[in-house]
Subunit: 302 residues, 4 copies
Amino acid sequence: MPVLGQNQYGKAEVRVVRVAREGAVHHLKDLNVSIALSGDMADVHHFGANTHVLPTDTAKNTVYAFAKEYGIESAEQFGIHLARHFVSSQPPIHRARIRIEEYGWERISAADTGDDTTGGHSFVRRGGETRLCEITHDGERWQVVSGLRDLTVMNATDSEFWGYAKDKYTTLQEAYDRILATDVSARWRHAWESDDQAAPSWDGSYERVKKSILRAFCATYSYSLQQTLYAMGASVIEESPGIEEIRFSLPNKHHFLVDLEAFGLSNDREVYVAADRPYGLIEATVLRNGAVAAIPVDLTNV
Amino acid sequence: MPVLGQNQYGKAEVRVVRVAREGAVHHLKDLNVSIALSGDMADVHHFGANTHVLPTDTAKNTVYAFAKEYGIESAEQFGIHLARHFVSSQPPIHRARIRIEEYGWERISAADTGDDTTGGHSFVRRGGETRLCEITHDGERWQVVSGLRDLTVMNATDSEFWGYAKDKYTTLQEAYDRILATDVSARWRHAWESDDQAAPSWDGSYERVKKSILRAFCATYSYSLQQTLYAMGASVIEESPGIEEIRFSLPNKHHFLVDLEAFGLSNDREVYVAADRPYGLIEATVLRNGAVAAIPVDLTNV
Amino acid sequence: MPVLGQNQYGKAEVRVVRVAREGAVHHLKDLNVSIALSGDMADVHHFGANTHVLPTDTAKNTVYAFAKEYGIESAEQFGIHLARHFVSSQPPIHRARIRIEEYGWERISAADTGDDTTGGHSFVRRGGETRLCEITHDGERWQVVSGLRDLTVMNATDSEFWGYAKDKYTTLQEAYDRILATDVSARWRHAWESDDQAAPSWDGSYERVKKSILRAFCATYSYSLQQTLYAMGASVIEESPGIEEIRFSLPNKHHFLVDLEAFGLSNDREVYVAADRPYGLIEATVLRNGAVAAIPVDLTNV
Amino acid sequence: MPVLGQNQYGKAEVRVVRVAREGAVHHLKDLNVSIALSGDMADVHHFGANTHVLPTDTAKNTVYAFAKEYGIESAEQFGIHLARHFVSSQPPIHRARIRIEEYGWERISAADTGDDTTGGHSFVRRGGETRLCEITHDGERWQVVSGLRDLTVMNATDSEFWGYAKDKYTTLQEAYDRILATDVSARWRHAWESDDQAAPSWDGSYERVKKSILRAFCATYSYSLQQTLYAMGASVIEESPGIEEIRFSLPNKHHFLVDLEAFGLSNDREVYVAADRPYGLIEATVLRNGAVAAIPVDLTNV
């Protein structure tokens, strides 16, 4: 008989918004929560026997109830509450994995409106990167991976690419001053793994990692996107003692200099085509010395 | 024989990035340009005779060449150069319509990186709304419509909805304190229409309109999204003398209060479901007294 | 005071699936319904007075109730029921516009499974084009526009492009045997406009129009996509007496022949790049002699 | 110093269309190819030294050249040619992973057009599922994973869900006759792993697996989506001796029966809401007895 292998189930993309109201000043958290539960699930696969199956509808309800019972201090902390709950309250469930996307909102300010009576309850959704986290718990140990995607950055200079391998299919011209642009997608794993350890400040940690990434991106005079990737990863590991490893997936968003000679025009690094497909894709993990890699090769978005 | 009606052709979604370099400080413009040309095009439709057809590939080339020849001061000004060119240089072309999306980039600052040596050539793509414009020219008159989409805003309070019409299919409960959230999509038409008039500051105009929209959104104690829409439109018309009309398309991004009573919990405007579909959709034009509406009922994105 | 112009409101993207069960053989209709209502709506815009506003939530409920009360014979017929209801039952509502997307499903057959006991209740969603319609009613007259989008077609030969206008920005080489590919998006308006006239068979009409489009696409030896467009439109008008006009929006999905000479290889119309952006965009209306165009220049999807 | 972990690079989403012409009858292959190369890449990450880096632009060129040199018999066979080339020709490259999406086209037939002179060079893009494969090669062994996504199926009856675990957050009502719908995403690994073995017929294998999946979906009277998943997986393993394991990711596309009682209407399994988010997500691997799982937990699309 064919054998049942790794399996998991749950509710994906539960959209919850929590408003905390301090008088006229309100605070928002806007999350997209996905729950995957594993355990003693042979019977439901083999016979459709649901005794061990807590409905995915219940998982959804739990997200809403916990947003009330615990509030949402941070996505990571909220995910920890949820993962602990499923594993500790349902004996057939041995492992819970919670993935959360967080959408940022900023208070609309007097600078936005030109009116300093703008109240404390109006918000505009911040663009830019989406913050991510994944919490995995087996009843004893924790694995917390934080991350971001869609942090789109560009260096308009200080990037070269030459000296590469060539074969009979190589036609690329060497570049001594090119645009380097990418959508940073990154996931980093925290050293914290036990309730016996003090948990980090999840928000503070996030801000520190993001600063390391941006600083290394700006500061690296780049001869390849791989070099920039490693510099970003190394900065994170060196500047955040609580991070064990970080993985990046970096599309090389090609900006090709347009050949304007046919029109009698020069193009001294002024006019570029922003290309869509194909794109280079550079992926790597950078680890603290001694750490064992746990982040999968393929990053997933939710 | 079936009759050929309105027709137009051109190149859509030409992606151009222009870098202006002032020493170590660089400036970026990142546009998505779509060109639609109309004129004496009967023969190409009826017989495939291309004599009057300037290739769409040439339209694309022109975008890149003009980015060099004229630079990109603003999307509107760039579109004006393009529209004038096609109509004035190709006798069979009687009308040109240029649509442009602009993607915003911000210089990465010391605040982003914690490093005050951050240079002048590193950028992060700004999220939030996308700026839009459409330039139409027939050789004499101009019509300039500016706009934005995906400006996502939320009022966490100061919104009610009651006193509405009811029929046998009405089950909605009246709301005395609800979340009001929308993705603002707006297009506004400038009074400027002739080369004899002084052109407005396109960037200054954009900032003023956006401020009017945000201020009215914040300041309106709302009994319906229609009321908020009109308040936003009226603010724009009153505060921007150069704007003749503005049209909005506002999805009502429903945030439903979750019923937590089954779990023994209250929910005093704290925990909401952010719903996807269906959504209310509120659309209207607000005009300056005496203006004649020219913006179509259905807004289009590019 | 700024003036309120054209305005409409309603519920968009109401997703309804109806199952009709004839014993073991079931039938599916899967629609996405969007409702826009207009009328005497000044007070809600000016004062937030909702007396004339039937809630969009009620519009949604009506879709579900009517799917039970009337069934869904065709999207067009369903839209007619809805439009008539809103205009006739709510005096402040003077006009209703119903847009419907229909998703096709096919019964899974013995050919799909290799098992001729496959029952009558299993379906696979058909890919290919999405069927569309828009019903507008003002209490007296009807306007019915049917359509489709995402009908992606390709001719691997029988397409040329040469003899076009050239200017100083023209670099395109003439083509004497190219691929012609497009995603057909079309909307056609029916002559039917009064309850006094017999309504057409909406499903039969749709199949006839689609056949005309495909046949003209196949049969036209093309010297430009405009020529193919007109041929498709003329076929529809000539072969469907109940259609007054049809509008197309046809992206020219460029397939560029790859230059393999650098690798010592020839490429006799074998290997192509399928490009994304930019793309040519060809749009036109074809009308029955004497008909007055009513389909807007910009087609919208929902 | 932070340590470089798993890393790979290459060109993603190379879009290639190949036309094979047999007189007037043409044949199409339409692929989206993504290449990831790994090997001795420390220096490029640490120092930006590109000596070992074959440019991603060259990887792109190779796709086009190979489409000419080898043709495209099947996506799997094409991927095998590419993977072998990179590993065998570039000493620093130790491993190549090729992922391919294939878009299906059908010849437009007389049945589509009502005209039996329809030629052999006109095609319509088939909707429905997208075929996928991933080829991995380290110079000795092969791993071939084939798959599909977006095969959307529905059983209008023969699905129940009851007898599940309940906790204080459970409010779901048991269902004795519900709609079961999902978008099948599946990946299956072939036993073939050495050039010494005869390779399977990749196209024949694909058709057999798809039939097994559809047949099991139709034939399973389901008490849970997990049961249906296992039945589909077991069918594949039992009916395709060359398949070692298969993994599914199945969103439970909820169709909720609408409560029409408030309108005085019954709803005997007729009218449903097709919901978007959240959705149940059921994922599992089914293996041949003795096989070792190699397909990752998270399926990726390209």
